[in-house]
Structure formats: C-alpha cells, structure tokens
Amino acid sequence: MTTLTDPPKESFRLSMLIYDTRYRSMTIQVVAMIGFMLLAAWLINNTMTNLATLGKPVNLGFLTDRAGYDINQRLVDYSNNDSHLRAAFVGLLNTLLVAFLGCITATIIGVLVGVLRLSKNWLVAKIMTVYVEMFRNVPVLLWIVLAMAILIESLPAPRAFRGAEPEATMKLFDTVAITNRGVYVPEPLFSNSLGNIHLFGSSSLRFDLSVDLLVLAIVFGLSLFGIAKVNARAHRIQDATGDRPKTIWINLGLFFVPSVITLIALGFHLGYPELKGFNFTGGTHMRNSLIALWLALSLYTAAFIAEIVRGGILAISHGQTEAASALGLRPGKTMRLVILPQALRVIIPPLISNYLNLTKNSSLAIAVGYMDITGTLGGITMNQTGRELESVLMLMGCYLLISLSISSVMNWYNNRVKLVER
C-alpha cells in the first residue's frame, strides 16, 4: 500500500534568490533600487559638498528678491520692482503664448502643405517638397536667427514713417503698422469698461482678468448654446416630419446680435497705433522677437507635420477614394469628409510629439531675445543671482510640467478619436 504524501515543503535557501525565477525578479529589482538610491545619494552628497565649498547652500529665498530688470514682452503687469518669481511667471506665460500660437499655425500650414504635396499640380507639389526638405534639414536655431535677421533687415524702421513724404506707410487703411520692431495692430478698447478682476491678490502669480472680455465670452457662449438648441429642434422636426425648418436666419441672428449688442453696450472701439516720439504708441504691439520665433517654429514644425499628414493620407487605402467617387463626392469633399477624418487617427500620435517638440524648441527664444522662461528664470535671473542649481532645476520642472500636461491632454483626445476595435 502506498500512501500519498505531500512533497517535502521546500525550505528557503539563499541561492533561490538567484536561481528561482519566482524570487529572481525580486532580487533584480531590489538590486536596481539599491543601485539607484546609491547613485542618487552619491550625486546629492557631491552636490551638497560642492555647494558648501562654494558657500551657496540651496536656498529659494532669491525668488522673492527684487528682479531689477525689465521685460518688454509681457502678458501680465510687471515692472523691475517685482520679484524674480514674478519675472519667471511672466516668462512662463510667454513660453505658453508662443507655444500655443506656434502649434496652431504649424498645424494649419502643415496640413495645407501635406495635402498640397499630393496635389496633381506638378509644380505645386515640387515647391512643397522643396519647402519640406529645406526646413527639415536645417537646424531650427538657424531658422530662428534667420527669421529675426530677415524681419530686422527687410522691414522699415519706425523713423521711415516720419516726415512729409515717408518711405513707408501704414497698411490696411492706416490701421496696421509693420515695422522692424514688430507689428502694431489696432487694439480693442471699451469706453464703458467694467474693470478687471484681480486674481491672487498681490502675490507673484497675480493676474488681471478683464470683465469685459469675460462678459463677451459668456454672451457668445450663450449664443452658441442657443444655436445648438435651434439645430437640435430642427433635427427633431426633420426626423418627425421629413421637413427641415429653415434655421439659417435664426442662427445668424443668434450668432451676431447678442454679441454686437454687448459690444455696443460696453462702448467697444478700436485703438489705432500712431507714431509718437520714438515709437508707435497705442494698438497692440507684437514684437519682432515673438513674430520671428513664432514664424520660424511654425514653419519648421509645419514641415514635419506636413510629412505626417502626407503619410497619414497615403496610409488610407485607395478603395476609400474610389468608394467616395462612386458615391459622387467631388475630390475636395472626398478629402474633407472621407480621407482626412480617417487619416487623423494615424496622424494624431506623431502630431502630439511634434507639439511637444515645438514647445521645447521655444526655449531657443533666447537667441532672439524673446523673454520666455528660459530667458527670464534660466537667463537673467540665473545670471544676476548666481543661483544656477535652483534656477536650472526649476526651469526643468516647468518644462516637464508643460510637456506632461500637453501629452496627457493630447493622449486623452487620441483615445477619444481612436477607432474602437471589436
């Protein structure tokens, strides 16, 4: 007779940490963790020792000191009496501004060029190819510097506008001045202004929000909501009766009338730039450094986006085009209604990384003197205070935060438009 016995309970041996696959992965991880921590400790220890020798212990106190320098391009109020932190905040907003503008124009140009590269017109396709190759194969820093140089050299200086017979004149019925210091465009002004909301008190992150613009935005939002309602009703009626009521006039009215009434109530008028003293005053001043950076970054990134768009379109099988033709859609509509929506799915992931690249490349602003966060926190502040470690780490932190937010927003969008596979 045999008795069934349990196999002897395996006792734990040290060698199992290495040879037993159950434990080995644990061992490797622990070793990796210890290695990483040792490395980190080593680096931190070195840093502390070195900083102690230099007599510069880590201290963020410098951020509240008076900055003492001026920044020309700013979205929020700032003067040289403000703190370094405020200057960094101004810089951060400038980074976001140029990244935002750049991403939009790069997308527009990129899609246009990508589609035109596939044009049946040989000449147009070739010009677009030359554009793409030229921008992709020359460093972006060179393009930025070149764009700046072209703007400075080819546009007239403000003094050319002076005199009885000026060499240069303002464009668009004397409303826009294009100079080599930037472009002056009319600014919106409100004579019955409702004032500003001051956010965050007097801290470094203080921010003025214009109530006028807020009201306008709300009114406009309500208009859009109304239009959506009208359309929904029209749909319902169409579904029920087969007749769609005419909505175009109601929609147009909803779109314009409330906003226009609000504008009139607020006393909306335009402030035109005029030559006064050394410069144009009044109007909104878009500085050359911003324009050069914006232009160079969008053109450079657009070349990459064009390639992505082209690849995305080519990836859609030819049968889709044929099917669309069979349905009687014209080429333009085929592109808009059939090809592009499908290509979008292929396009979006690489598009995200190009947006990220554009944002990161905006740090080259320093080459044209656009005061982004690299120029303020990583430039003048670092230089004047001598706090390299703190400044550079904070700078990296800011970019990391921007990058991670962009990629998470875009990934969320990507997941939404992704084809749901079953």
């Binding site: 990796a32 070195n46 070195n50 020798t53 044009s119 060179l142 470690l389 700078l395």
Partner: protein
C-alpha cells in the same frame, strides 16, 4: 452573293494620340493646367519662383570672392555694381572656411614624438580629422549597407578606440588599454561561465574590467608607453570647433546612446516594476525637457554633481549630456522596433528554451534593430541639427563661430553669407542621410510585406 459586309474585317491602323495629350505639351496640360484652379496655382507658383530666384541668383553669383575684409568687399561692390545691396561677400567664407569646418584644430599638430619635423608637407593638412571622418564612413558602411563584405566590421569594432586617439592624440596605449578592458570582460565571462556558472561569470565580467580601468589600465599604459612609445601629438578639446565639433557630438552621442537606449528600451518593456518605472522616469524626464536646459546642466551644474575636484572640460560634459539626451530618444526608437516584431518571434524563442538574454541577443534584437535603423538615422539627424544649440553655452560650433568671426574687426557686420554657408552644409549632410533612411525604409518595407 454580295460581297457587302457590314462588319469591318480589318483593324483600323492605330492613330497617334492627339498632340495635346502626349509629349511635353500633354504633360504640361495634365500636370500644370488641368482645370482653372490648377492653372491659377501654376501661374502663382511660377511668379513665386521667379520672385525668389530674381533676388537670390544675383546675390549668390554677382558676388565678391576675393576680399580680406567686409570693407574691401564693399569697396569692390561699389566699384563693380555701384551699390553694396544685393551682392554676397563670399570673401568671408573664402577667408574662414577652414575655421568653420575644423574650428581651431591645428592643421599640423605640433611636436610629434616621432620626430618628423612639424609634419608640414609630409601629410595633407587636417589629416587627422579627415582620416577620422573617412574611417567613420568605412566603419559605419558595413552596418548600414548589408551587401558590403563582413570583415569590414573589424573597422567598426576598432573605431570607437581609434577615433579618440586620432582626434585627441596622446599615447596609443590609452585607448588600447580601454579596449583591453572589454576584452578582459569578454574572456572572463567565457572562461568562468563553464567553471563557475553564469552569474559568477556575469559579475566577474562587470567587476574585472572596472578594476582594470580604475587601477591598472593607466599604470600599464604608462609602462608600455615608456617601452614602446607610439603617440600622436595631443590636441586639447578646446581646439575643436566648427562642423567637426557638430559631427563629433552627433556621432559620439549616437554611438554611445545606442547601447544605453537598448537597455532603457528593454527596461521599459520588462515586467519588473521598479526597473520599469526607473526607465520610464528617465526617458520621460529627458524627453520632457528641452535640450538647452540639459546643456545648461552640462555647462553650469555637472561639475557640482560630481565629486569635488573632478574637472573635465566642457566638450566632454556636453558629450555626456547629449548622449543621455539621445539615449532617451533612442530608447523610444528601439521600443518601436521591439513592438513591431510579431509576437510569434518571442514565443518561438521561448519554445526553443532560450533564456531572456539569449532570446534578445539571438532573435529579438537583430530583427528589432534592423527595423529601427531608419528611426536611428532620423534620431541622428535630429541630434546633429541640435548640436547648433551648443553655441548658446559658448562652444564654437559653426553658429558660435559665426559670432566669433563677426567679432573680428574685419568681418563685423557679415550675416547672410555665413548663415547661407552653414545652412548649406547642414542641408547637404542631413538631406543625404534622410535620403538614405528613406531608401532603407523602402528596402525593409518589401522584406516585411
């Protein structure tokens, strides 16, 4: 019987297509003037091209080549064309092109230990960087073009040790001893693997070379140098500049980042949580910050992170940071290659009973890397273009040199010519590489369909 037939019995002779749809005219009609929209586009494009060329061509070709300063250029222009506008002054390139290519690298490094005078006339100028560049092509070619004879791979293996010696000079024994460290590791693994088992062999293969490099290599190198002295005159890395510096940074960064990137990619794919999060953290951190901040780290912080008293020059520090930067991007490229492999390959390797590293080495990596080559080439192009950023931290790459050249009283005020020259060289270099990468993509494409 009538012979009348209502059916044609012989074919009509083929007629030529109408003249308007073949030949040049046909091509023009089909491609340029097909409908009114296309016609408008064509006319606009022609006007655009004419506008660009009418400005560019006279500037490029009605230019001054022989002038030693900008003022001389302006004088010649005024004499010849009556104005200084719209004419290039290529004299600056003529004067400084060697500097733009090689920086301050001495054409004939002085005081060689093997006494051959100052070397002038014996060898062509800049033979060391030129030789290093030619050897680079020879070393890379067998990797990129699979049709080349395999023995060329020896050059590829020797190149990482040969190149620093050629460029920086010094005793040949230094690089040789570093290479010896790898050999020691390799043989230690081979020998110990059979005697003491894989793990001991692996540890020995890592520890022994480190001991060798840290304590023995320099002693042995000095000893050998005193017995048989083979050395090139030393060149300080501060002398490096111009395109040579750009290429050097690009090549070293890609070369060193490849192994690092592979490890990171494997780490990111692995199911070991801590290893994975460390790798993901590193990759995302590096990819999330601009290169310029990493260069700030190289220029102002790296010395603070290292033990007190360590000091190595800015070019090495930049090389380290650019390598780390490239490694993160390389990891993503390799990860793409790994993801593109069919799952069957992994399962096949498992079913053969291969362990993880064997499977990676014999089955996965060779295929994944082959797929990744276009991505690697475009990463290289990106890094190569990004080397211009080092001008911001004061290194004299072509863009930095253009500033230094403008600081010379003779050339103060020269912009377009320098930019055009630099852009042209970058374009040639990057364009040819991107064409190669496309060719490769096409080649790989057919193989996988």
């Amino acid at each position: 019987m009538s012979n009348v037939s209502f059916v044609r019995t012989e074919m009509l002779p083929e007629q030529m297509p109408p003249g308007s749809s073949v030949g040049f005219i046909g091509w023009v009609r089909a491609n340029l003037f097909d409908g009114w929209l296309n016609s408008v586009l064509t006319v606009l494009s022609l006007a655009f091209i004419f506008y660009i060329l009418s400005g560019l061509l006279p500037w490029t070709f009605q230019s001054v080549w022989n002038a030693a300063s900008l003022n001389e250029c302006r004088d010649i222009m005024n004499e010849t064309w009556g104005s200084t506008h719209g004419h290039a002054c290529w004299g600056v390139i003529n004067d400084r092109w060697l500097q733009l290519l090689y920086g301050f690298y001495p054409p004939y490094p002085a005081t060689p230990t093997v006494n051959v005078g100052d070397g002038t006339g014996l060898l062509p100028a800049f033979f060391r960087p030129n030789l290093a560049f030619v050897l680079l092509i020879v070393a890379v070619a067998p990797v990129l073009f699979t049709s080349l004879p395999r023995p060329l791979l020896i050059v590829s293996a020797a190149y990482p040790f040969l190149m620093p010696w050629l460029l920086w000079g010094g005793s040949v024994w230094g690089p040789l001893m570093v290479a010896a460290g790898f050999a020691i590791g390799f043989f230690a693994y081979r020998i110990l693997h059979d005697i003491a088992g894989g793990l001991v062999a692996l540890i020995a293969a890592i520890v022994l070379p480190i001991i060798w490099w840290m304590f023995l290599a320099s002693v042995v190198a000095t000893g050998l140098e005193s017995i048989i002295s083979i050395s090139l005159p030393e060149v300080d890395s501060r002398k490096f500049g111009g395109f040579m510096l750009s290429i050097l940074i690009g090549v070293v960064a890609i070369g060193c980042s490849l192994p690092l990137g592979i490890l990171l990619a494997l780490g990111r794919q692995s199911d070991l949580l801590i290893v994975k999060s460390l790798c993901v953290g590193f990759i995302e951190f590096i990819r999330g910050v601009p290169l310029i901040t990493l260069l700030f780290v190289a220029s102002v912080l790296l010395n603070i992170f290292l033990p007190p008293g360590t000091e190595f020059d800015i070019i090495l520090r930049v090389l380290i940071m650019v390598t780390l930067f490239a490694a993160a991007y390389m990891a993503e490229v390799v990860r793409g290659g790994l993801a593109a492999l069919p799952k069957g390959q992994y399962e096949g390797a498992d079913s053969l009973g291969l362990n993880y590293w064997q499977a990676q080495r014999l089955i996965i990596m060779p295929q994944a890397l082959k797929i990744s080559i276009p991505g690697i080439v475009s990463t290289f192009i990106g890094v190569f273009k990004d080397t211009t950023l080092v001008s911001i931290i004061g290194l004299l790459d072509p863009l930095g040199l253009s500033n230094a050249i403008r600081a010379d009283a003779a050339w103060n005020g020269v912009y377009w010519e320098l930019f055009a020259f630099i852009a042209f060289l970058f374009f040639i270099f990057c364009f040819s590489m991107s064409r190669y990468s496309m060719y490769l993509e096409r080649k790989l494409h057919t193989g996988h369909k």
